[in-house]
Amino acid sequence: MATTTAAITLTSSDLLTNALALSASMTLYQNGTTATGLDEVNYHRANIPTGTNFDLIQDSAALSEDASYVYIINKNTDVTDYVIISINSEVIGRLYAGDWAFFPWDNDLTDTEAATDPSGNDSTIEIQAVTHECVIEYALFHNGETLLTAADS
């Protein structure tokens, strides 16, 4: 097993009357365990062209009912550039240039997406760039995924 930690710090000296200094840290554990860390990761960098809503992280039978965590950052610098993050066509929100998100992802699937069944998408994380092409980096921390059988196998 691996030990992976994710920490957040939210700070502001002038949003509220008193200074905001909030921090939290967590270890990424496997579902149903007290101290067994997730031991697999996919870490990517991609250019997302405008005009199309793409599958970013596909659902997978092995990810179902498990503990997985997703990190996404928009690396563009033009403040008007953003990507729309969705799960199964439900828009979660927009990541503008420099924005990041970190959230747990439960692959709550009843119909697994596959090369032969691209419509079987009920948990896939989707992304669409608006204004300009966006460079994003994203990571999925997980406990195993089901790889598609090669078409020529």
Partner: protein, 141 residues
């Protein structure tokens, strides 16, 4: 305008052959500008002991933040399950409208952009009726 920053650090020395170290800081701004967000719900805490679906952030609340959190505005949500991890089987499902985002086990946190709109409440459903405490905060235009 205010200056609020959100920093994340993800580290591991053994999930890959080489150490993993991700670190980034973003400044929370209004949509498409360099102007800092100036409104917040403040940090809130909610205790519950129910496995029913419960609205945490009600987009339809007339006197709430509905008018300020819309699809074309900028909003960020922080949620943390501050329970102990326990045996690792208890969690809170976080949903946007009817779509499940993921599970927050004890000690877990999440930070995500929130695109508001009709029916786009942030909701949660606990895995059982164990008393659970969530802390949450919204930053918005």
């Amino acid at each position: 305008m205010a200056t609020t920053t959100a920093a994340i650090t993800i580290t591991s020395t053994d999930i890959m052959d080489s150490p993993l170290s991700i670190s980034n800081t973003s400044t929370l701004t209004t949509a498409g500008t360099n102007t800092g967000l100036v409104e917040t719900t403040g940090l809130a805490r909610k205790k519950f002991a129910s496995s029913s679906n419960i609205i945490l952030l009600d987009h339809g609340l007339t006197s709430g933040i509905a008018a300020d959190v819309t699809a074309d505005k900028s909003a960020k949500v922080y949620i943390r399950n501050i329970n102990d991890r326990g045996d690792g089987t208890k969690y809170v499902n976080i949903l946007l409208a009817a779509v499940e985002i993921g599970r927050l086990y004890g000690g877990d946190w999440m930070f995500f952009p929130w695109s508001g709109g009709s029916g786009k409440d942030v909701e949660f459903t606990a895995s059982d009726t164990t008393e659970t405490t969530l802390e949450y905060m919204v930053f918005y235009e």
